[in-house]
């Protein structure tokens, strides 16, 4: 099989960063090899002519499903917070994501 899509170590690290995954150096090597192999397999799609083909994103042809905008019973605040470790006055407590300056 043609090997076109060799991922570099740098690319693996970049993709992991985008996806908020932290990898060890062994993992980077392992995934570089495994993902390159899968990407090489996927190259086969280049053979298919698709210039005049529309993409299928919804297989049963549904479009714009609407419902009436009316309020109804929902989960309580207590239930919503039941899975979190830290709360503050009925809110989720999370780490700061923006700096002061």
């Amino acid at each position: 099989m043609k090997k076109i899509s060799n991922l570099t170590e740098q690319e693996v690290k970049h993709v992991a960063k985008l996806a908020r995954l932290s990898l060890t150096s062994e993992e980077v090597k392992k995934f570089q090899e495994q993902l390159s192999e899968v990407l090489a397999y996927i190259e086969v799609l280049k053979e298919v002519k698709t210039e005049k083909t529309e993409p299928t994103s919804q297989v049963t042809s549904l479009e714009n499903v609407f419902r009436e905008d009316k309020s109804q019973a929902s989960l309580s605040q207590k239930e919503i917070l039941s899975g979190t470790k830290e709360t503050h006055q009925g809110f989720f407590k999370i780490k700061r994501i923006l700096d002061n300056d």
């Binding site: 693996v12 996806a19 995954l21 495994q34 086969v44 298919v48 083909t53 994103s57 549904l62 899975g83």
Partner: protein
């Protein structure tokens, strides 16, 4: 005959006639679980106390509850469906302690039909896998031979069915996750049309492909389970707003001049000779009943797996982005290898500069695959193909080579890409291991698939009896 050997419809009869109680029925399943689960690892959670309480309640209300189709029947649910107050892990350490505050719609409907949720079954974590080995809580084993995989990702639901630990089980199928384990474990498995059953409350994998389905000992049970779970749900915008036929009542109807197509691309190189032989035996059974068998072609089949391994990881990377460890569950360091691989593959395919070459290209080829099916269903009513190119493989055999593992799905991903239903049917044993074949039909043709499967089942029963 042991109670665990009964089909759902037989158990319903027995309960109505008071031959046994629901408590006895649930206890017999619990005994099987206690005896065999330490070896098979089909269940992650067993709801012994709750199940017995509900069974006692069902027995007390027997006459009043007889109208409920699953009254007092023990059902097991893949641990990817949210169950209120019952731990739901997706077999991932990320959700090891997650306790949902609501039921998935499919679960709610089962409960309303009287079903007793006896436990939550093992799976490849996040439903990522073809063997059951990707579970963070240990691989499920094939009940026919514990050295072999049960197939995945609904590994526990298929194995629990085969090991008679519940009378019916529920799973999900994104690229073969019901049909493959059904085939490897020798039970019936249905992947319905995309949108036939609501996915509300099911932990999402790949949203344009995910479907909810079921396992059973016979076609009648699948017809019943689909009947209960199918239908529109305002909480899932992709669920179809179309009437649900009476699958059970129409099961025994025989379609006149039935034409079954054999797509030649599914019988080409790469197919194990023994699997091919068993599939051909099944074809002969249907042929003897006067079915016309026609060879057909689905020319884009060889591209389906590549399409699937772009669309699926892309959607996985998007769906798993929500696991931040803040609102519930643990943080992203708890993902294991297969989830990381798919997240990265998807993130790469969707990242700047690659979207058109990968995701968009895959969605275009998806259109061609769907058109192949539309065309072929103008000539034939249903298609018959193998489920897997190989027999069940040994535990550990494919774990170091992800691509080789992915190839297990080569005959099953097409149905998900086209949104059509697929029904896996046991074809018999080869070297002591089960082999299945699948029927594929146009969207919303579940009723016809059941009828054809029922004909096959009846013929097999007849053949077996005439041998004796």
């Amino acid at each position: 005959m042991e109670l665990t050997q009964l089909s759902i419809s037989q158990a319903q009869e027995g309960l109505k006639k008071k031959k046994f109680s629901s408590v006895e029925l649930v206890n017999s399943s619990l005994e099987k679980i206690k005896k065999n689960n330490p070896k098979i690892n089909a269940f992650l959670t067993v709801c012994e106390k709750e199940a017995l309480e509900q069974a006692a309640q069902a027995d007390k209300e027997r006459s009043a509850m007889d109208k409920k189709p699953l009254s007092g029947i023990p059902i097991a649910v893949k641990d990817i469906f949210c169950t209120k107050g019952i731990k739901t892990t997706a077999a991932s350490r990320v959700l090891e302690n997650y306790l949902p505050v609501y039921d998935a719609t499919a679960v709610r409907k089962l409960k309303e039909a009287g079903a007793i949720i006896i436990g939550k079954t093992n799976l490849d974590a996040w439903a990522h896998g073809s063997s059951g080995e990707n579970s963070d809580f240990g691989s499920t084993k094939n009940p026919w031979n514990e050295n072999y995989v049960p197939g995945g990702s609904s590994s526990g639901s298929a194995a629990a069915m085969a090991a008679q630990m519940a009378l019916g089980t529920i799973g999900t199928d994104t690229g073969g996750s019901i049909r493959l384990p059904a085939s490897f474990c020798g039970v019936f498995g249905l992947k319905p049309t995309y949108g036939r059953i609501s996915r509300y409350g099911v932990i999402a994998m790949a949203s344009s492909l995910d479907t909810v389905g079921c396992f059973g000992k016979e076609v009648m049970d699948l017809a019943l389970l689909l009947q209960i779970m199918a239908g529109h749900d305002e909480y899932d915008a992709t669920s179809l707003n179309q009437s649900v036929p009476n699958y059970q009542q129409n099961l025994t109807k025989k379609k006149q001049n039935l034409r079954i197509g054999l797509p030649k691309e599914y019988f080409s190189q790469g197919l194990d000779k023994k699997v091919e032989e068993k599939t051909k035996e099944a074809i002969k059974v249907l042929e003897r009943q006067g079915t016309e068998i026609v060879e057909v072609s689905l020319p884009h089949t060889s591209y389906a797996l590549a399409v699937y391994y772009l669309i699926q990881p892309s959607e996985v990377s998007s769906n798993l982005a929500r696991y931040d460890g803040l609102r519930y569950g643990f943080d992203r360091t708890f993902f294991s290898d297969e989830a990381k691989r798919r997240i990265m593959l998807g993130t790469y395919a969707l990242s700047a500069g690659y979207y058109e070459a990968y995701y968009l290209k895959a969605m275009k080829v998806r259109t061609l695959i769907k058109k192949d099916f539309n065309k072929v269903f103008q000539k034939v009513d249903v298609l018959l193909t193998p489920v897997s190119p190989t027999l069940p493989f040994k535990i550990g055999e494919k774990t170091t080579n992800p691509l080789e593992m992915y190839l297990s799905d080569i005959y099953t991903v097409t149905a998900n890409l086209a949104g059509i239903p697929g029904l896996a049917i046991p074809a018999g044993l080869v070297d002591g291991l089960p082999v299945g074949f699948q029927l594929l039909g146009p969207q919303l043709s579940e009723e016809l698939l059941f009828q054809v499967a029922y004909q096959y089942e009846e013929q097999k029963r007849f053949d077996k009896n005439s041998l004796v």
